[in-house]
Subunit: 444 residues, 2 copies
């Protein structure tokens, strides 16, 4: 179907294209617009029925949105802005250049302009920056029948009608009531009687991670957000939370691979930005690795008398790094999901000690068999390598298991204590053990 | 509040505890039960009102569920099973030992037993294993009024009433209609007139990753699932999808740190299971690293004439590994989120080539300044180290950028092409470049 519409547009059979497009989901229409060239995209966009156009607009990339805003009239812009859900409008305005924002704000009422500016000022990644103002507000005194009639009149403009929010005269949140309850109970009851007063809610300045945690813990579909005076200012719906979860995970992946986190998609990020995000940590880790180099230089005597020792350095370093990053990854992920808490430090260390003993012995034994019997290296060197292997694995796992928790204790992001940093630390220790052991066993 | 209830239970002031517990959210009650010792947990559980008890049960850990099932009567078990949502019951049964499952199935009607067995047989991680049967089914001929009356009668037993599913006499899915539409439109219209026929749906055997993708793309709250004959068999709701997203991410984190993925929480996994999940990859990578060792042995002559060369091995190896894992992480994540597609291979390589050139030059220059001017190593060695640094970074990033896409092409999970494997590959190449360059520049 998509290919068919693209073809019709190429052949300038616009009304046929329009008819075909009408059967599609708005998400799929947005996808087609992204693939068409700019002029054809604008033609197709302007052919859409007004309401569909607004929905499609919310799913477009910022680039495409900008192109369309540039090409359409002030009146058309005003229509889109009026009909977009408030949170989608804020998301859009946040990404637009200042000149466009000005042009758009010029067309809004003063009251709305103040609200928009307030929302644009919430800190990034705060509850305030995620919420929408389009919720259904009810009063305690209403009967369920009155509430349903009210919802019937206003539902079209609301992002969700499935949970309704009950506030007092000062906009203080008093309770919530689901549409399910409104529909399934006796219509003469009042909202106040039927509402749930044990409400899980958030504050405008809460971090988005806290909000995600609440959604997951309580299986929420939406959460009300209140300001410092406990007045209801908006709600956050689960579709936005799904995006936040993926964004937080992406940031963790990036931090764990020693990069500055970024929200931009890889293919849309410029080469310089990508380089900038990567270079700081590479530099820090490169400089740190020179300490490891210095250890080798300190033991140059040992090395020059038994050069074959150098051949086992990569294996020891890599295995140490891998063993450590296994542990740190599990602990970082456990901390992020809330499965591991600060008070579990000792439990984690005890677990890692036992796991690493099993793993360390297994690796050391297999390694011994291989290098003594297959590579036919001398017994003393084989023992040195294998004892170092064991000590390195145990140490790596203890370091890997404890550093992320230590970071959390110091209010740092545990994700920075991932593979690259652990590897660098473990490398140094592994080499000290290796050469000291060699010097002692080989009597150098 | 939680501490207060724990205290009351210790002091055996059960009715006070019960009164306090009643004000809490079921999730918080489940948390308290997890922290109490077994006997007290069972006492508190049996004091809960029946309906609350069922909801709390769904949030308990498998261990605690098992303890409770062991302690309560067959009649109480039957009540819990009757009232649990079908998907929660299946989740629970999947984790229970066979003897318990038998005991429970004994108490269900034959019809339900057949259904349970069918659900238990869906492959793990398939749409079938995630779905529930408690949806609202409507017919086209119903008026909206009839539909609402019907929902009023049956809503209590349904997991979601916010989307209703319209099927024909053969249970074939014909359309969906939201409760919002039912409530806000003229009650004399029919469901058939108002329903949406452009339905996004899944098949019972679809992989859960596909389902997650559909939810994210179309901002769904629930998705209908049909069998091979296109008959509606169940629905999947977004709260379960949030769990799947986190589970898929956890698996990616684990694979990327060279571990066998596991769904169990870290603290609840036995030491042997943890060791087993880690040892296979550590072994594979340890053996692979011996190839790197062999490269050093091949260049033993070069190394023994200029032992200081060994001092830069850790820095080159670590930087190569880190540079490569930055690229592979971004590409693996991009593939998982659908931002990067198979046909983007060349775009990715071109991008990585440019990024790595910038990063490589920067690192090489800084490194040169440091080792030539501060560490006062000879010019020839400084040049060897820095040229190797540049080549390693470029190579690492090209390898890191392309291997995950190659894995996807071969229908493997891109996540295995992460840091550990990249490091091992890049190490070997870096050392060959390093020693060949040294032999050539130093004329050994």
């Amino acid at each position: 179907m998509k290919e068919r519409i693209m073809e019709l547009m190429q052949e300038k059979r616009f009304s046929d294209a329009r008819r075909n497009v009408m059967d599609l989901n708005v998400v799929d229409i947005a996808e087609i617009l992204e693939e068409l060239d700019r002029n054809q995209a604008i033609i197709l966009f302007r052919m859409l029925p007004k309401d569909t156009a607004v929905e499609v607009f919310a799913y477009l990339s910022n680039e495409q949105q900008l192109a369309i805003i540039d090409a359409i009239t002030d009146r058309e812009i005003k229509h889109i802005m009026d009909e977009l859900y408030f949170d989608d409008m804020i998301d859009f305005l946040e990404e637009m250049p200042a000149s466009i924002v000005k042009k758009i704000l010029k067309n809004t009422k003063e009251e709305e302009r103040i609200l928009i500016n307030q929302f644009l000022n919430y800190p990034e990644n705060s509850a305030g920056s995620l919420m929408t103002i389009e919720y259904v507000g009810l009063k305690k005194e209403m009967t369920l029948r009155e509430a349903l009639d009210y919802i019937k009149r206003i539902a079209l403009d609301k992002e969700t009608v499935y949970t309704c929010y009950v506030t007092d005269a000062n906009r203080k949140l008093e309770g919530i009531i689901s549409l399910r309850k409104l529909v399934t109970n006796n219509e003469d009851k009042t909202v106040g009687e039927m509402m749930n007063t044990d409400v899980i809610y958030a504050h405008t300045h809460d971090d988005q991670e806290t909000i995600v945690h609440l959604f997951k813990k309580y299986d929420l579909m939406a959460i009300p957000v209140v300001d410092k005076e406990e007045r209801l200012t908006g709600i956050i719906t689960i579709d936005d939370i799904v995006d936040v979860i993926e964004q937080e995970n992406t940031e963790d992946f990036q931090r764990m691979a020693a990069m500055a986190p970024s929200e931009e998609e890889y293919l849309e990020t410029s080469v310089f930005t990508l380089a900038k995000h990567r270079i700081t940590w590479l530099l820090i880790l490169m400089i740190s690795a020179t300490f490891t180099g210095n250890i080798i230089r300190r033991f140059e005597d040992v090395l020059s008398s038994v050069v074959v020792l150098a051949a086992f350095i990569p294996m020891l370093m890599d295995t140490g790094g891998n063993a450590g990053s296994q542990s740190s990854t599990l602990v970082i992920r456990g901390l992020a999901l809330g499965d591991i808490k600060l008070e579990d430090t000792l439990k984690v260390l005890w677990k890692e000690l036992r796991v690493s003993t099993i793993v360390g012995i297994a690796l050391a034994v297999i390694n011994f068999l291989r290098i003594y019997y297959i590579e036919k290296v001398g017994m003393q060197i084989a023992v040195t390598v294998c004892v170092t292997m064991f000590v390195t694995v145990v140490l790596a796992k203890l370091v890997g298991g404890s550093l992320p928790i230590a970071a959390r204790r110091m209010k740092l992001d545990p994700a920075i204590m991932a593979s690259p940093l652990i590897t660098t630390i473990v490398d140094a220790v592994a080499l000290i053990v290796y050469f000291s052991m060699a010097a002692w066993i080989l009597g150098i």
